[in-house]
Structure formats: C-alpha cells, structure tokens
Symmetry: C2
Subunit: 322 residues, 2 copies
C-alpha cells in the first residue's frame, strides 16, 4: 500500500532571476532524523541575502527547488531520536544554515539542534523572527571578529537597515560611541536607535565628519554592510591599526589599509546557538529591541524582495506564516 | 666666521631606478635635538624593502637624496637635551622609521629615542644589525596581529629569507607547529631553523600537503612574505575562521576568504622600542638567533640589492660600517 507523503506550503525558486522566480508551491514536509528538529514556522523574514541568492550572486549549495528565508521563530513540531536539548512544543528561534540547506519561507523547517535556541520570552514570534540573521551577523562582525570594546568609536554604515539597526544597539550596549550613516529621511529614526552621531550619506562626507570629530584620528572600527566605494572610502575614516568588518565583497585595492595596518574582517555569517543565547539575554533585559519595517504574508514575498532591492526599508520585513 | 659643516659617508639615491642609482656620497652629519639621538652606526643591513623603495614602489615620505637601510646596531654618539633613556656610549639597536626619515646606510643615524632599544648583550653589532626589521616585522605580524598561540599550526612562506628565518624561530618559541616553504637547496637550512614540515615550493603543492597533514582542515595562520599567487593560494590552506598576515600587497580577489571568514592582516612594519625589548629577551635567552647570509661593506650595497632581487639569500645581508 502506498504511503501518502505529507506536504507543506513554501515559496521556492527553481532558477535564478528577478522576483518573479519566487513561486508559491507545495513541497514535501521534511522528517527529522538523528539530531534534527522539525519546527512549525510561525514567522520568518526577508533579508538582502535572499535576493542575492535569488539573482545567482551566491550559488554555493543551492539545490533547486530552493526555499530561501534565513530567520525562524516557531515551535518544535517533531524531533529526531538523538535530540537531547529540545522537546515538542518548545518555542525556538534561529538562523537556518545559508549554504546547503533549505530556507524558511515555508510552514515547517528542518534544522540541526546545534543551531537552534530558545526564543526570547518577551518577544512574539513575529518580533523574534526579526532577530536571528541580523543578530548573528552583528555578533560575528562586532563581537567575535572586530571585538569592539567599551569606549571605542564605531562607524556603522546603513544604520536604518536590518543589520545596521541591530548593530547600532549592540555597539551601544558595549559602551561604544557610534557614528552611523543613513539617508535624510531616516536621520531621526537612526538617532532613536541610539547612534550618537548620525550622518546623512547623501549630503555629508562621512570621512570628513569623522576625521573632524576624532581629532583627525579616525574611528577604531568600521562595520560595512554596503560595500564598493563605501568600503574603500571607509579606509580613510579608520584610525591606524583599526579594524574593518564587512559583510559584502572586499574591494580590490587595499593599499591604504596596508600602510595603515588596518585589519580586514570579511564576515560570512555562521549559524549557531551560543550567540543566540547571548543575544536572547540582551533582548530579555531590554538592551536590544527588534526593529520591524512591516509584517507580510508568504504570498507577498516577491514584493518584499523588490522593496529591499530598491532600498529604504527600516529594519526588518517579517513574514507571518502561522 | 663660517662654521664648517661636519659630513659623513652614506649611500643614497637621488632618483628611482636600478641598483646603479645607489651612490656612495658625503652628506651632512645630523645633529640631535629634543628627544633625538645620534647613533654611530657599527652595522646596518639590506632588506627587500630597500630595493622596493629604490625602484619607486614605495614613494611615501621619500626625500632625495634619500638614504636607505632599515636596521641599526651602534653606539650613542650624541643626545638631544630632552633625552632621558639613553646616554652617550650606550650600545643600541633599532628599526629606523621607514617613512619620512633617513635610513642607515651611513656612518651616523638620527632617531627618536622612543624607537631605540638596548642591544642584546650576547650579540656583536654585526649580529644585532640582522634583527630589527625582520624581528619587528615578524612580531607585528605573528604576535600583535595574527596573535599566534601555543599548539596552533602556522605556515611561513619563504622560510629561508630574512623575515622567514626569524618568523620560524618566533613561531617555534610560541609553541606552534610550523610549515614552511622554500626552494630545494634550502630544505635542510629551513629544517635546522626549527620548521617542523619543510615544503619545496617548486616541486610540491603546499596546499595539498597542508590539507593532507591537517585532516583537511588547513592551518590556523599563514604568514606571507611573497604575495600574488602565493597569497591567493594560501587562502585554500587556511582553516575556516583562520588568519592571514601579509607584508606584501593583498590580492584583489578575497571572495574565498569571505566565505571562510578568514581575517586578513595587511602588515606594514612599525618602529618601536617595546617589541625590540621583548625580542632582546628571547635572543639573550637563546630562543632566537640572528641568521646571516653574508657581511659586506657600504660600497657593496648595490650588489647586495641585486642579490636580494634575484632571490636565494639565506637570512640577512649585514653591512659592517665601523
């Protein structure tokens, strides 16, 4: 007798291209084995990395039909027989592995228990889904790699974006003085996130402002989420022996970084429970808050991709799934 | 009445070019003021950076006629009125500032006391002059930037060279396991410096050997003194989240470093007393020894430049001045 395979709703791509390649579809519901957990997804989100993969910019580990989406907040639905740290019904949040696994634009998501963490108790699923990717990215860049410290000066580019809005709060929680760039319409918004000095990147020269306001020294650390010219120009705004963490492509010409002994940290975010546990503490103590641009449904994901590509999103676009 | 200006012998360049631009000449003997010290140079040395400046590859702070030479071992001849840490007759060694100052292919050299250190008591001037530039470079790269630790694996390229031969000893003193590349004729030489695994870079593929011998993980740290393809290929031989320190131009394509979260440390060596004091201790305790290829005179400097450019120097070419 044939077993009926259970299915779930998902948004997947079967080729690279514009937002139209994102198709609402039914796929097989995964079954956890070993140390895996199946999570009922209450909320996921849309991040810039999603459209970069969709366009073919990152092709490692992509396996069509590929589901995108790299945030999960949900409830444990089923566990593999070797799982020890979670039980059915636990509320969890995490960053799905970006390479070689399916994403979370779907009703259920499969993950290894080692990357899953308990959800912050003071957040709804919709709020919690705004955290994992931007939180882990900021943690990897600022805490693990650049190792920001009390009293240091940090320049965070694109402070109104998903990563920027988290990174500003994290740097402030560390006791740093934060410069941040954004567009004219977001100046107050970024100031309210905690940035000490907000720079209108279209009207002001961030290098000039920073050199003026740091006794011509430069900041200790730059966190770049923009790349190309922004990153190249940032070298001018970092002090000798400073650090630059970048989550985008590192520029070809590092000659100036060489003479200034600036350390370059190219950051490709890694999934993991430990940093989510640290972030969870900060959220539960009120030191960091989720920043949500809007809440959408699975069917609205193509439009959300376009909105992010066009710029101007404040914080995160969260997808309410259940 | 006219004062007779005192002069000293020196080797200087007045334009960029091949080794013929190095001219034996008489220049004004400097006079120390403030916190400056005038040192009678007993020995200096020839380093690759000398020919790079001579050819116009580094033009920052060059002021013709420019004296090259970035090692000094000598005796304090005269001090500025604010000098507190040295007196006339003290035996000292140091790395002259590379940018904006005169080098040490000369009978006397002027330096700020802050970069001058006491010479190791167990070394002659000829031996001590083999240390500052390669010692400070290795220190900046391995200790300050890459922060090598007990038990780590380190790949040191060009282990028979001036920097390589010091860096191998330093990494071994830290308790690291050292891979090192060199040419066939230097295999035994580099082994004798302390390298655990010597790789003939012309006959063997260092990436393959390292991956084979590190359980396909890669080394924790690469120290590159060669650049271009050697550096690009080194990314393959570093473990995820490893570090690369390079004293040469960083390659354009860091895409692979990005996905592996490899930190890049471009290192332009800085002068300074503190690290020389640390190095001095290690030398006096016998943990590090100078490695001298040959000892020459000021007039032989053009030939030494050619020898270094053609490759095949083992350790340092020291210039005995007095």
């Amino acid at each position: 007798m044939k077993t009926l395979t259970k299915t779930m709703k998902a948004v997947a791509i079967s080729n690279y291209g514009e937002s139209g390649v994102l198709k609402f579809t039914e796929v097989e519901k995964p079954k956890p084995t070993g140390r895996e957990i199946l999570v009922k997804v209450y909320a996921t989100s849309v991040n810039p990395v999603d459209y970069k993969i969709r366009k073919g910019g990152i092709q490692r580990g992509v396996d069509f039909p590929q589901i995108l989406g790299f945030d999960v907040s949900g409830v444990v639905e089923e566990i593999g027989h070797l799982v020890t740290d979670f039980k059915v019904g636990d509320e969890v949040f995490y960053l799905p592995r970006i390479i070689g696994w399916q994403g979370a634009y779907s009703e259920y998501h499969l993950a290894e228990e080692s990357i899953v963490a308990k959800k912050p108790s003071n957040l709804s699923h919709t709020e919690a889904a705004a955290i994992p990717l931007v939180g882990c990215t900021s943690w990897d860049a600022l805490i693990q790699r650049a190792q920001i410290k009390l009293g240091e000066t940090v320049l965070i580019h694109a402070g109104a974006g998903g990563v920027g809005s988290f990174a500003i709060q994290l740097a402030k929680a560390c006791g740093c003085y934060v410069f941040s760039t954004c567009s004219s319409k977001n100046l107050d918004f970024v100031k309210n996130l905690g940035a000490d000095r907000v720079i209108d990147y279209k009207k002001e020269d961030f290098v000039k402002i920073i050199m003026n306001e740091t006794n011509n020294l430069g900041v200790d650390v730059v966190f770049d989420t923009v790349g190309s010219d922004t990153l190249t120009n940032s070298i001018e705004a970092v002090r000798p022996s400073g650090r630059i963490a970048s989550i985008v492509r590192v520029p070809a010409n590092l000659e100036k970084a060489f003479f200034k002994n600036i350390t370059i940290h190219p950051v490709f975010v890694q999934s993991g429970r430990q940093k989510l546990d640290e972030i969870c503490k900060l959220i539960e103590r009120g030191q960091i808050k989720p920043v949500i641009d809007s809440v959408i449904e699975l069917k609205d994901i193509p439009k959300a991709h376009e909105k992010i590509e066009n710029g101007g999103v404040r914080g995160k676009i969260v997808v309410k799934v259940a």
